[in-house]
Symmetry: C5
Subunit: 355 residues, 5 copies
């Protein structure tokens, strides 16, 4: 929870299919781009919202409405009415954040994906796939669709020769591929943490490990349902998805599996870091205790001996009272005894491999 | 177990279908509201219990008996007899708390859900769905059905144009949506705990973490079976649920999945707090030990030196006996040696980065 | 393993279907009660073992042989021969303890359940369900079947009007319902432990927590397979189980699910207690270390100062030798310095919130 | 890994179906016993290896080749050729250790089981089941098959009246039942460890717990695939397994489930012992720290007081210099102060319940 | 992450089926070996890349293109065009590392496996299996295929008499069998660590344990999907895989299961080592604390006594002032008291079994 959770905002009991903007939603203005293409023709232009009502699905080729910004529920409603999208699907578009999923409605599919690109806040991408029709919604005018737009413009690859399902695949693929650089960065950060933890296991390090684990968890929570959604899409029996597109969806599904693999590897690594941290901390404690024990154990007996010869028994009152004090070599002898005691202690600790 | 668990009360061996009130049940009086509506007509009135026996299912439209309070088993029995509900279903209504579930009986379905709205105690909501008939039971006159009642009165949304299954969906949806604010509050509480734990890892904090984990577990135990119940309802092949209602049930199911996602996120966060707490505690221990070790290690040797020159060897008895005591710069020299020893120690600790 | 595990006793290689009594089995004498009833008639009497061979299944109604005590394998063999039960089924009756299970044989089913009623040792209940026939075996003359016998005698509920499958259900239900009071008691014990752990985290407490966890595990190991067995019974396609009995079996299955829920809740609570204990222990350690550190850190420097002015440098031999000793306010000054040092330390610890 | 792991020995790239002896294999000589029987006849004799080539499956009854010792691959090859066993199956016989499994080949099944009987090393048992034919391979002439041989000789039970599938069942059952005494011994050992751990939590105890856990894991790794194998055998649709044998296989499968149950119970117990050990260790640490803290806290202030009155301020130089030294009751007063301080400390510790 | 992770390199949005070399890929030059054989004939030769376009699948027997080195995407493209492989399949060949998997395309299968042979870096092996055709790609000219080549040359085993599916099996088997020596080495390393940990639980040891765990995890992550791939291949219903090859694939699958078993055993062992390490560390701490406590507890009271008799109360000023100092046996008596106190302490510690 490094960043503020966004709250659901529809109060309990709101009628289903209610379309309104999330109060915490990005205030990015709505922009609509229209793409109409087939193998031979290509048209791209900005679409004013009031032209939505006069749009129609082309007889051949593909119509793509590329909409960014969710601040105007009216646009979503207009699109929904024009193409007969289910009100619950439209509600999911506006009521961010949703889990990644595929919804089957009559005559169209809704694909919801969650895009996570650190350090930007996560964003929801919603795609309606109809016959010869794709309508995509993004929260902000993002750049993950840019390569797809470019491929369309330049007729790069086979994208213009394929149908709406291939376009939907290409958009999903772009969203999912955008996870890779984010994850790589997280992985690098976790690996750098290892050296820091070994060098100085301070509580700040522990906190950083936890933050990294939380960020990995966030990615995991986004990738896991995306994998399920891709798998569902892959097995979808709707005629909207042609057999020749399936290998591409399978490829996209494979990417989500690879992402899960990476996330799990990093998570295991981070969990190992916690152990490393704990072990470092108890090792430091051992070091501290050793220093204390060595110092105390060496000097406490010596101080005792010094204390004994600091007693004030009256040597004149009785020959038994500390006669050592009057001996010729009393003082050097005591010093020798002290040195011997200290040396013995040191030898003992050395044998115990305490230093 | 922040609050008292409610015990099952039917003693082992009670015949199945026995209808009696839970001795620990809310003593809230039974109130029955009757709603009868179709797309064009709407009737709402309070129903005295003795009129139950003369009720009948309308030929068109929907009859909703909205009953709150379980203190009178007679009402439950009367309703059951009038509409031929299965005795085991009726027993489940009275024998709270049940796990959330869907039960299939001949001609009707029973949907049991658990409502958790902190800080109120959890409550069981039971719905019988028959042909053109919904009978709902709540433990207390709660407010989670209020928006549905309001929508019915105001013919808001499509609710009056739809059938009994849509009403049942709307009631389930209201119960499930009521989890969201509760969960948000729990999540906020857990996040606030983090700062407290870092500031002062006292045992009280640990206790609070555990309480939060227990409350999250309680929500989880309520949501998990609710998810299963919604999934079952979604896949129910009974003619009581029309195809056009299924997308709505699917939406409701999606909400339970989102709830589980939130619960799990908060639980992971709380588990991380336990680690943070433990790490803070051992860090504090390290700090304490460092202070002790630094103080002891610096002063113990100095005290020893002072002790040596506090010995009473007779300097007159022999020139070997502590001649330093009579030196001109003996005292300053000893003070210097002491200062050097302390300085060396401090340098050693500084190099070890102990402070 | 608070109580002695019972060992399997058939040595490896024993031919299957060998019928002999467990050497550690209860020596309770065999008692056979015969119940024969239909909706209108009811007969109950003790049956001498030698009359088994002349028994026959009634043409209508139900015959229930209610046998307690496994000390005489001859009785089991005789029953098995009379009603053509499978030898492996008969072996399971005698070779206690078995896991709860349902076995399908030709013409009859065997239901094995494990009854756990603290503080009594667990007991195995085995039921053969045939056409118009139930034969039940208990290890000891227990009381969990008593309510069923009573309902039969008093024709309470619908039990006499129903078939053998309903009787089998009623017996299973009685065994499973007997888990509830046991579990409630365990739950109460675990909750009481919490207060004790917080008050004094002694090793005895830890031991008690572990004992409670083991007892919960024991219940879990009994309930888990019972749930599977009930589920299997519910899905059993044998004509021995009539459709109208299935809702009752489903109800019984629901009880096992509720039991699992309770067990898991208590187990989580007990696991939390272990954490609480561990946290209490390290908190106590911190407290102890703080006391030591505060005392040592305050007095060690003071003792050092006292030691310095206890040195015997000859003040007459040189003006540099401890001239403080002859100062007019030397002693009060030293006392003041000591007080200031101690006060500084206390302020430092106070700022660190050590007390 | 209390005992040496046996390594796989076929180097990577060896052609499949290569038959050669494991270099670390037991050098036990190959012994072949031939059993040929039906309900009425019985023949048992040792078979010289060169007679294998002239063997044939009897027209009625069962032929069992009971082979122990794997030191001669030629025998395995000869048997394989004579009865047309698949080369991969034969390789599995020699290439020990394999996981327990059931392999389906044309016209025959291969059942591989792992026998664990402490303190002997584990052994692989391989059974080929064909039509009227069983060929069993053991690594050493072991005794787990002895009861089956005896039952055959004495026509005890129904074994001679049944087919080859029943013999295969009886052999599997013998191998699986041999786990019970081994597990009981392990369970006893673990339970004895508990008392030792509580009495003295030395590192040796910890090591013993880990050894026990490893041994339990070894059993688990042997039982788990055996359970799967038995389940597969149970569901096997081959005509080689007759319907009347299935209840026996189900019984055998039940035994593997019981074994898993026992293993898990012991494993949980052992895991609890680790907690108990850790808790004992930190409790001991607490005890040690308490003793140190009590002693140090009581005597450090007293020593300080003594140190103060050991200072050599010149009482003659000023009336402010330690006038207490000349008081009439100075010494007794100081002793009293000391006693009071010590008593206060003791009272404080007593109130804290430190002893 | 002992070694550098290789990053995915296709930037997000790259069109599917883009063929280009990984910038971090091995720069090993491309080498193509052609094998063409049937039961009677055998041809092996190096193939210059420009001859790819003139290749054709033989009418009988098998064509194997054995390609090592991925530095030239042109070769991959040429092979793909010649044999009509799917562009996504070709992309997977170049875009290393992929997870192990089986991809179904029209008329051909793609098998991707990951080879892990310490200390070499992991390598990806890709196999296209068509009708009478196998094309294999390796990253480096490795030796795991050598035994297969040798078997082909020497017509060893049945490999030349079998089809392309058997060749594909043989190559998969070679890759999977290469895991065994690697895992054995890892297992030996982990077992050796145990002795080191018990002898001296230094932080370096802990680090080594973690490294071993990471390496085991790496193997696990390679074996797990390989197991799934083999299982999928086994269940593949394509006519490309003949029924007689299935037992061999099943054998290969069994090897992956055995590998998983070994990995899990070693992982459990390594996890046990962490516990052992932690237990050793806290045991050492206990030892250190015991030494400190014994020394301090014995000498602190003695030093106090010595301090008392070092006080300078004026014995002449009052008979109550330390008259002991003038007693005849004062000094010996004090020494005796000290010896008695020390002896009592030692006896106390001995009784507590501290040494």
């Amino acid at each position: 929870m490094a960043r503020k959770r966004r709250k659901r905002w529809h109060p309990p009991g709101t009628p289903p299919g209610t379309l309104s903007s999330h109060p915490e939603a990005d205030k990015a203005p709505v922009r609509i781009a229209l793409f109409r293409y087939d193998a031979d023709n290509f048209e791209e232009r900005a679409l004013p919202p009031d032209e939505i009502a006069s749009l129609s699905v082309p007889e051949s080729g593909v119509l793509w409405l590329d909409i960014s910004g969710l601040s105007d529920p009216g646009v979503v409603r207009a699109v929904g009415e024009q193409f007969h999208f289910h009100p619950l699907g439209l509600e999911d578009v506006l009521n961010v954040p949703q889990r990644s999923k595929v919804e089957r409605f009559e005559g169209h599919l809704l694909i919801v994906l969650r895009e996570v690109r650190h350090p930007e806040p996560p964003e929801q991408v919603s795609l309606f796939l109809g016959d010869r029709l794709v309508v995509s919604f993004q929260e902000r005018p993002g750049d993950s669709f840019d390569p797809v737009r470019e491929r369309l413009r330049q007729a790069k690859g086979q994208i213009r020769a394929q149908g709406a399902d291939f376009l939907a695949y290409a958009l999903c693929d772009a969203v999912i591929d955008a996870f890779f650089p984010t994850l790589e960065k997280l992985g690098d950060a976790v690996e750098e943490l290892e050296e820091k933890v070994i060098a100085s296991p301070s509580p700040e390090r522990f906190h950083e490990i936890r933050r990294a684990k939380q960020r990995l968890l966030e990615v995991r929570r986004a990738v896991w349902p995306a994998r399920d959604a891709m798998n569902e899409l892959l097995r979808e029996e709707s005629p909207l998805i042609r057999p020749e597109t399936r290998p591409y969806l399978r490829d996209c599904y494979d990417h989500t599996v690879q992402l899960m693999d990476m996330v799990e590897t990093f998570r295991e690594f981070a969990a190992g870091l916690v152990d490393e941290y704990m072990s470092s901390v108890s090792n430091r404690m051992n070091e501290i205790m050793k220093v204390l024990t060595v110092m105390a154990t060496i000097f406490i007996p010596l101080t005792f001996i010094a204390g004994v010869y600091g007693m004030n028994f009256d040597t004149k009152a009785s020959p038994y009272n500390m006669p050592e004090l009057g001996w010729r070599y009393g003082y050097p002898a005591v010093l020798l005894v002290m040195a011997a005691a200290a040396g013995g202690m040191l030898a003992y600790f050395h044998r115990k491999k305490w230093f």
